[in-house]
Symmetry: C2
Subunit: 437 residues, 2 copies
């Protein structure tokens, strides 16, 4: 049974994911060989420091600090070093040398995905990065292949486990934002510098990748509208609960038409309300999920672990097996996604529903004034309710206004006008409501 | 832009799925050509009756009653006629003629999948059937490809929308089983003969396919232990709610080890309790979902529409695009799943948790008697509670016993002993509790 040919696998990086990938390649060699039709031989692991501590004990002779040389002798290169350089240069070098590349590097794919994909396409190599979005969850392949005969219209993702953990604690256990952050930090959900997570940078990188895969359109990370969860208050969580909603940090990629008729794409990240009946509402703790709406397939959701060394290694190995099978079968890599080159539209063009909490003077005629202001800006109220919360000053009332679908730019102008109006003593909260039809 | 080569597509069957597939192929020709690198030309649609009414208006000249002839001139054959014959013979003929085959025929794949897969493998053709399980949901491809480097341990599927709709109504709206069935029937969720759905035959076919894909093991439909939902009572639903559970009809494929040490696979269908915190509990109405547990990836779930002509057409077209790309690229089909040939184990070997509801004499010493009976059979109680429901006769009490994990055979023997014991006036319900660790 050992008459398989060898495929030489080079691994760049040996952190929590890389060390598990190495372990699985070594431990499951026979089984993988049977599945692929070739032996996946790990020829080396490039690291900065050979003596650094690792999650998994691995044969010392596999380690090298010479990544460039390692790459040149490989059929398949697995890049799990993270960061832009030297990862980018090493991947380009691997592709030029004819190797297929598997990476889990979301920052790199978000910033240089199109460049790398083009390089791979030119030489007929395969570049895959299932692990770069939502860890273990198969999402890139389903979007690219299973839905290849459909039109995706919207993708809503809970793609950052740390912030989902924090919001979930606030919702389910009534934690304050500070307490939830502290627990998340203690449990290792947050990095020493939590900014990447809580300010939505990590989710924005994933939104870029999801938008590019779903809509065949290059969306620069800078073009992703980004709001983190640091502004989410317990009062908002409570009001959401009262109204049958839950607050989730969503990465959204959506096909839409601008007011001037331009067909385009919006990519954005913000905390939003979703109905408790929505499947995304049941995504608890540090889990991830990507909810996809397509013209024919309707609503789909992909749920699972968004992080973790072992979990993410599963996605990496899936890509490695796919690349290896291609080597055995022959033929060029999966065709690059054809480019639709839709316009990337600014947040002002987005149409969604809103929930606005206002503190207003508790006097006659206030509702009429506010309704008038909304109507002036083309925003239509679906519901107005006096809040049960008693956070306001004496002589004021808190109103919770739910709108019908409105343009973000119109809503922003409405909120500005509300702030400027004498009957409004404060705008306590503006949240978007997503996932509704 | 019209210098693509043609790929000849033959469609067999033009029901609710087939007519949508034909429409999408015709309407999205240019776009599909750009994605595939070849034009997908629908050369004909084989039907029994050319004049039968269709969901979609299609050019009359496409229709033919000569399916055999149509098949011979095709590069890709889409089989959506349903039933075993002539579908099976036509697919074999298509494969022999060198065509790739896409089918959504779950009965055929459940019964003859291995035969058809082998025929395809021998000539290097591709056989795909994403639409055969869970309609629009991409599940076959993720199991086969994305998880190709992982070990799947268990698959729990809500794969029959009709029964999920009925159970969901009973749970959420308090419908009786009869009322829920009637509404489901009125809304078109049930066939004129609902037996295939409510007795679990449809789910059993899907369990067979899931088991074969997840474990590379042929599981005959006859070997699937099958219980439908006709025995599910409102009392069971209420007791489940009280205990924090919901009842779902699950198709389960699981890798397990028999008492004698044999490594094997279990495939089964029955209504089971799952925790309301479990992601499957949030699958409402007619939706489907497949929950996958894998050694490295951990828990994954794939959710979406399990039926519907347009929705299912999305899955069919995904397979067609994949087959077409292969034609453009060249090379043989996706390698057949290597055979693990695990033993198919009987239901008695299954290990799970149980909830048993007993009516017992309301007298001292009863609990001790029952605890003794359980212990005798190696079944350990995790909880015993007196039910809030008052369905029993005077002088009796209802006990709800939750067990730790036990062997099905031991539990069956326990239940028999309970029935035979004088203190037990009746066994009101035995349900398995799934989805727990």
């Amino acid at each position: 049974m050992n008459d398989y040919r060898d495929l030489r696998i080079a691994l760049l990086g040996c952190g929590s994911v890389g060390s598990q990938v190495a372990r699985l390649l070594l431990e499951q060699g026979d089984e993988l060989a049977a599945r692929v039709g070739a032996r996946l031989r790990l020829i080396g692991i490039a690291v900065r420091d050979i003596d650094a501590p690792r999650d998994v004990e691995l044969p010392r002779e596999l380690f090298t600090t010479d990544a460039e040389r390692l790459v040149l002798g490989a059929d398949i290169v697995i890049e799990l070093m993270g960061g832009i350089e030297p990862a980018r240069s090493l991947i380009l070098r691997a592709i030029e040398g004819g190797a297929d590349v598997v990476t889990g590097n979301k920052a790199l794919i978000a910033e240089h995905g199109p460049e790398l994909a083009e390089a791979a396409e030119q030489v007929g190599a395969q570049l895959s990065y299932e692990a770069a979005v939502a860890g273990a969850i198969p999402i890139i392949r389903p979007l690219r292949e299973s839905l290849a005969g459909d039109h995706i219209t919207r993708v809503l993702g809970i793609v950052n486990g740390s912030t989902n953990y924090i919001l979930d604690r606030m919702d389910r256990f009534g934690d304050s934002a500070e307490d939830a952050m502290r627990v998340a930090s203690e449990l290792g959900y947050l990095e020493a510098d939590p900014t990447l997570d809580v300010e939505g940078y990590d989710a924005a990188q994933k939104a870029t990748i999801l938008a590019s895969i779903a809509f065949h359109t290059e969306v620069p990370v800078d073009a992703v509208h980004r709001e983190g969860i640091t502004g989410v208050t317990s009062a908002q969580i409570e009001a959401a609960q009262h109204a049958g909603y839950v607050i989730k940090l969503l990465a959204i990629a959506e096909r839409l038409v601008a007011a001037d008729g331009t067909a385009g794409v919006s990519a954005r990240v913000y905390p939003a309300l979703i109905s408790r009946e929505h499947p995304l509402a049941a995504v608890h703790g540090g889990k991830n999920a990507v909810f996809v709406e397509a013209e024919a397939a309707g609503e789909l959701m992909f749920y699972g672990a968004g992080a973790g060394g072992l979990e993410t290694a599963s996605a990496v190995l899936g890509d490695v097996v796919s690349a290896a099978r291609r080597h055995v079968i022959g033929g060029p890599g999966v065709p690059g996604s054809s480019h639709a080159d839709l316009a990337v539209l600014p947040i002002g063009e987005v149409n969604t529903r809103y929930q606005v909490m206002l503190d207003v003077r508790d006097e006659p005629g206030v509702l009429a004034t506010i309704a008038g202001l909304l109507a002036q800006h083309g925003v239509s109220a679906a519901s107005v309710e006096q809040s049960v919360a008693a956070d306001g000053e004496a002589g004021t009332a808190r109103l919770v206004i739910g709108t019908h679908t409105a343009r973000e730019a119109d809503l922003a102008a409405t909120v500005e006008a509300l702030r400027a109006n004498a009957v409004v003593t404060g705008v306590a909260s503006v949240l978007r409501l997503e996932g509704a039809r």
